[in-house]
Point group: C3
Chain length 138, copies 3
């Protein structure tokens, strides 16, 4: 049994959900472990992770609109010194996930056929985001 | 240190939350590891996982009603070609969890006394659901 | 490769979010593993875990107010025999996280600079809370 640690760096093209499945799968394949456990941790509080439907762009857009509706930009937040998109970014991050744990078999993540891994960029001006990755297995 | 990979298959009797604690506990016990880490991944985007109160059916029903309220069926979704329950199913999945990580000790999950593991079936016509399971320890 | 299991016990001073990063970091450092995977599981259904912004008290307060708004105290719940704060506590727990998985490197969690780990106490009268911790690595 052994382990590997790394960092994936992603800059989203715009606010919203961005598929990173391929980049994660490539890192996993590089570690050459046939069976194990993969862990992802987004190292930010205004971006998050989500496993969701990977095929329908309309589903992605509906998800983005829903996040904007239940954690809206608003003048009612006390914490607003970093811009109107900052506090909703924290709320949308709290709603989704900071960490994901994904079993690996035959060097591949055991995701379902319709599942993709998304980086959720919650700020209007996307930043360089780091995702800590860890794989343990053999 | 060693690891085990498996798949639990569940078909819920109806839309809503369904306790799967016993099935998970049985798989863990079968692996005969006294200490370790258990990981669950639901392999679908219209069903999810949740650790919640395992005793009060009224709490379960309130949770189901609350999910239906904050991620409602509606004619406002752009993605509606798979039925009116499909897009809310994705939203309710995003709100809850796709993966869970549970420490194991003495061959048992370290859940609290009132905690159960639920499969959340978000579609009106339940389907056969697969949960990837992974245990690493000794 | 080896593993360690423990329990962190926390009683929050009041309802809301409470930083526990230091207590978790101390436990991790005590295990003297340079690289590994840390898992946290809150053993309750009316308290939860969250990785969020660790510096701005206003952001913490906005988060608490938002949780109170989308999972409010109300007389509409069927499950109300444990008090008006009990059912919203379950809902706020479902919204946030019961388990967290955090890669460790150089004996430290790989959290981002602005990330802290919070225990979310959702009851008005805080109780003694147990968090199961597990570290695997070497």
């Amino acid at each position: 049994m052994r382990q590997a640690s790394g960092t994936l760096t992603v800059t989203a093209p715009r606010q919203g959900l961005h598929l990173i499945t391929d980049a994660v799968a490539a890192w996993v394949a590089d570690q050459r472990m046939s069976e194990g456990l993969l862990t992802l941790l987004v190292r930010h509080t205004s971006a998050s992770l989500l496993i969701q439907e990977n095929a329908a762009p309309a589903a992605r857009r509906d998800l983005e609109r829903w996040l904007a509706r239940i954690a809206p930009e608003s003048s009612d937040y006390e914490h607003d010194d970093e811009g109107p998109d900052d506090m909703p970014a924290h709320l949308r991050s709290a709603l989704t996930a900071a960490t994901l744990s994904i079993p690996v078999l035959d060097r591949r993540m055991r995701l379902g056929m319709w599942q993709g891994i998304y980086l959720c960029e919650h700020l209007r001006s996307p930043r360089r985001r780091e995702i800590a990755v860890h794989l343990m297995g053999e």
